[in-house]
Every structure is written in C-alpha cells, then in structure tokens.
C-alpha cells in the first residue's frame, strides 16, 4: 500500500516503530481502532460533564497516538484541548475543537478499516 494513497493518515512513523511488517502493522492498526474510540468518548463525556481533569488526562493519553498515525492537523488540536482542560477552560471554542477532532478521527477510522479490510 503506497504512502500517498492514504488521505487522512500516514503510516511512516508507525513503520518506523514496528518495521515494514504487514502483519505487525495490521495488528497495530486494529489496536488503534479498538482503543482510540474509547479515549475519544472519554474526551467527549468529560467535556459534557465538565470534568477538566479527566478531559486533560484523556487528551494527554491520545496525543502521542495521533502523532504516530500522522493524522493531519489533529496533533495541535489535541494539544490545545489538553492545555485548555488543564486551565479548566471548557468553553465553546473547545466544544468546536472536540467536534473537529471527532470528525477527523471518524474519517481516519473509516479509511483504515477500508485500507486494511477490517470490520
């Protein structure tokens, strides 16, 4: 699968970590698809419940994973969300950022499932 074919993500960093082993890459993609939605849900729920600590923690955990998948624009987004949550600024701007993050990640999930033939 050529690098340029991916629209919403990049496997360059992941390959750097796990090597150019299709099976290992597929396993890591599967793990990403299994673990990331729950973190994203935790971000959404903690924002809605007004829990900045959990929000900051979840954003902090998700941050490096998004970086590894080279998901365009989301690294700065998640970093902003974490910083604002640490300052307890759970405002409208953050709501927009979380929605933007959710939208981008849904596109990434769909593309990954398609590319790797995963359910």
């Amino acid at each position: 699968m050529a690098q340029s074919e991916h629209v919403n993500y990049s496997l360059e960093k992941l390959i750097g970590f796990v090597g150019d082993d299709p099976e290992a890459i597929k396993n890591m993609v599967n793990l990403f698809l299994n673990t990331t939605p729950s973190l994203l849900n935790a971000i959404i729920a903690s924002f809605q419940e007004g829990s900045p600590e959990i929000l900051a923690k979840s954003a902090h955990t998700l941050k490096p994973t998004l970086d590894v998948f080279g998901i365009r624009d989301t690294y700065d987004l998640i970093r902003n969300i974490e910083q604002k949550a640490k300052r307890s600024e759970l405002d409208e701007a953050m709501d927009k950022q979380i929605k933007q993050l959710t939208h981008t990640l849904e596109l990434v999930f769909q593309e990954l499932k398609l590319d790797f033939n995963l359910p």
């Binding site: 960093k13 970590f17 090597g19 890591m28 673990t35 955990t61 490096p64 994973t65």
Partner: protein, 450 residues
C-alpha cells in the same frame, strides 16, 4: 567470558496502543525481553524479575511516574529508569532527573532514536558491569587461598588455619615474615575470600611513599591543600571503602603519621588534608612488616597503642628454609606454571637439582625460589632441570657458605675472602672482626690461598 542474559526491559505505559507499539519496537532486537505493564503497581510487583531498564510513563492511572520511580529507587538504585512521557513541561523533566531518572523523553518524533540510543548505552553499561562482576569472581577464584599459598608443611598448614579464621570475621590482621614469604598474597587471599571480596582491595607500601606525601596518599587531600594540590584527591582509605586496605611495611611509618593513623582507626573517620569534612570509613585493615614490631615498640620507634590496635590476628609466615619439602612442591608448581605461561613442553626437576634446592637457605624466600626456577627453565635445553641449571645469585654470600660440604680449611678460606671483600681488603679490620691474627691473613694472601 562473561555470560550475557536476555536484556530485560519493563515498559510501564497506560496507553494501550503506545505501550504495545513500544513493546513491539524494543522486541525487534531479539536480545531484548520486553514486559509491558499498564500500572505502576504492576511494575513494582514485578521488580523481583530484575529488569535491566524501565521505560516509565509519567502519567499513570494509579500513581505518578515520580512515585513509581521513588519506589523503584528505594530497593533497586542501579536500575536505569527512563521517563517516556507526553509531558512537555521542562520543570517536570528537571525534577525527575534530579530524583534519579536516567533520561527523560517526550513522546515526539525523536523518541524512537533516543530510546534506541539510551538502550545501547545502558546495554554497554550492563555488559561492563557484568564483565567487572565476572572478573571480580575470577580474582576471587584466583586468590582462593589454597590456590595462592602452596604447601603441605606443618608450618604452612598452621597458616591455612589462621587464614580461615580471619576470613570468617572482620578482625584486623598483622602479617609478619621475611621478604618474599608472600605477605601481600596472604592479605589478598584473606580479602578475596571474605565477605568484602566484591569491594576494593587497596594496597599501599608505606616505605615506598615519601614521608611528606604519605598522609595525602592515605587520607586524600582537598584542592589547594598544599602547593601542587590542584584537584581534590581521594585517599587510599576512601578508595577501599567497604573493602580492605593493606598497609605494607607498616614498621616504616614515622611517629607523626602513626598518631594520625591511630586516630583514624579509633574514630573510624578521617579528614582529607586541607579539609574540614569528617568522612566515615568502613575498611578492614591488614598490615604487614618484616620487622619485629614488638621490638620496635621497645626501642620507642613504634607507638604501643597503635601496635595493639593493629596486632589483631597475627600471622607469622615461615621462611621457606623452614618449610622442608614445600621447597620441592613449590619448585614443581613454579616450573609447571612457567611452562604453561610460555607454551613450553613440561619440564621435570632431577633428583640432584632437588637436592641442591633443599640445601639452599633462600634468603629471598618463595620469591627467590620462583626466580631461580624460571631461570633454570630457560637455561635447560632438554626436558629436565638439573643441578647445573640451578644457580643461586643471592647477595647473602655468608648464607651460601654452608651449602656445599667442604673441609675446615676451605671454609676458613671462604670466610676470610668474604670478610676481605666486605671490608675493602682492610686486613687489620678483618683480623679484628674474626678475632684472628693479621699474620694468618697475610700468610694466606702470600700463599695465594685467597
């Protein structure tokens, strides 16, 4: 060779994806054995598995990375803990490094290379530590005292008994014996067979250090303590911390230094020259001398209080000439060792050569025997060392006198020749020393007997 076990790495990471990715990455090297834990508690419970390195996330669900690291360092100060965290806060990194973290990485683009490099460095350190530990064990084996001190004579068996007693305790040991009897070997055998074996053995020959430098050599000095003290120097006592210090030729120590040594031994603390800080010391003391220290005390050359402090367990090494058949046993051992070291075929020692050795008085003791045997092994052109290859070059000509059976006239001639040589052919002085008439000497010279 030192054996290298699998390099055990713990990853403590609550982010399932990132943790698994690091695990996969580090396991790419088949020498690594990687274990992944999601909580600090899990990591702490598994420390008994002795990881060579821990990669620790700063933000964990049950406790902070700092708390986990503190717990690790309580019991396992030597395990390198590398913090791999999403925290970009510099003050957090500085605080962790101050608390003993080996390194601190942010989970960014460089983490892969940095982790690989730090692992390489830690592996090299582990390899070095393993080699040092192996070499220390080797030294221990080398100095297993029955490997070091050879002999079956009753006098040497008695020494074995005393060494065994000294190994079991921390008692100071004072070793006496003529030059070449193996005082330092006995000191090393005691150290490397004792509980202090893995700590340093530091030897200092008191007579070999200039008088005005001995204090600095033993106790160290601070920068600027005296002209030429351009940096701080750690003394032998501090170097030997936890181990053994061997003070050879202790009888040569001057009275002023004796007083300082006594204070250090009594107080178990020292101050470096030019310093004020009191430094606790934990060393075992072994001293050696070829002088009779009790006599030196009588003569006022050695402090009585220090003498009793140092005496501890006295071990008096017998001169080789009193060890009977040990001479042959040692000679055979030395020739075998020499042939092995120099890849020569095995040599035997003929009966006549053995008799010649047994008749000699060895003023240089075992050291001299070794030199004689090694020279003989070089001189022979066959697979035997015979008496013609054994040559005694001892400066102690008087001691050699009785080695060969001679007539009384021959002994007389040898004795007078020896004395004339010793006293620059001063016939009057020699006649006086030997209590004989000067005419006897003149007559022998005239008759060309001498």
């Amino acid at each position: 060779m030192a054996h290298m076990d699998a390099f055990k790495i713990f990853i403590v990471e609550d982010d399932v994806f990132y943790g698994e990715m690091l695990r996969h990455y580090l396991a790419l090297n088949p020498d690594n054995e990687v274990h992944l834990f999601k909580t600090g508690e899990e990591c702490l419970k598994n420390l008994y598995r002795a990881p060579a390195m821990i990669s620790l996330d700063y933000s964990l669900p049950d406790m902070s990375g700092l708390d986990v690291m503190r717990q690790i360092k309580k019991e396992h100060t030597d395990i390198p803990v590398v913090i791999v965290s999403g925290q970009e806060d510099i003050s957090t990194a500085v605080a962790l490094l101050r608390e003993g973290a080996y390194d601190y990485f942010v989970k960014d683009d460089d983490v892969k290379e940095r982790l690989w490099n730090v692992l390489k460095k830690i592996r090299e350190n582990v390899q070095l530590r393993s080699e040092i530990s192996y070499l220390k064990e080797e030294i221990g084996r080398k100095y297993e005292f029955r490997n070091v001190i050879k002999g079956n004579s009753p006098s040497i068996k008695q020494i074995f008994g005393l060494i065994e007693k000294s190994i079991k305790t921390n008692i100071s040991v004072s070793i006496t014996g003529e030059t070449g009897t193996g005082k330092e070997l006995v000191a090393k055998a005691i150290h490397y067979n004792s509980k202090r074996a893995k700590k340093p053995f530091v030897a200092i020959n008191v007579s070999a250090v200039p008088r005005d430098l001995i204090e600095s050599e033993m106790f160290g000095h601070e920068k600027g303590a005296f002209t030429g003290a351009v940096t701080r120097k750690i003394g032998k006592f501090e170097q030997a911390s936890g181990g053994t210090i061997f003070l050879d030729e202790i009888g040569e120590m001057d009275m002023n230094m004796q007083a300082k040594l006594l204070r250090v031994i009594q107080e178990r603390e020292l101050t470096r020259v030019g310093g004020n800080e009191l430094i606790n010391i934990d060393v075992r003391l072994i001293v050696a001398t070829n002088r009779n220290l009790a006599d030196e005390v009588q003569k006022g050359n050695f402090r009585e209080d220090l003498y009793y402090r140092l005496l501890g367990l006295p071990i008096e090494l017998p001169p080789l000439r009193y060890r009977g058949n040990d001479i042959i046993l040692l000679a055979k051992y030395f020739v075998d060792e020499f042939c092995k070291e120099n890849k020569m075929k095995k040599l035997s020692i003929t009966e006549s050569a053995q008799q010649k050795l047994m008749g000699y008085h060895f003023p240089g003791n075992v050291r001299e025997l070794r030199a004689i045997i090694e020279l003989a092994a070089v001189l022979t052109d066959t697979d035997q060392i015979d008496e013609s290859h054994i040559s005694f070059n001892s400066a102690d000509a008087a001691g050699n006198l009785l080695m060969e059976e001679s007539s009384l006239a021959e002994y007389t001639r040898k004795i007078i020749s020896y004395y004339l040589q010793k006293y620059n052919n001063n016939v009057l002085l020699v006649a006086k020393k030997l209590e004989i008439g000067k005419s006897t000497i003149y007559r022998m010279i005239k008759e060309k007997q001498i």
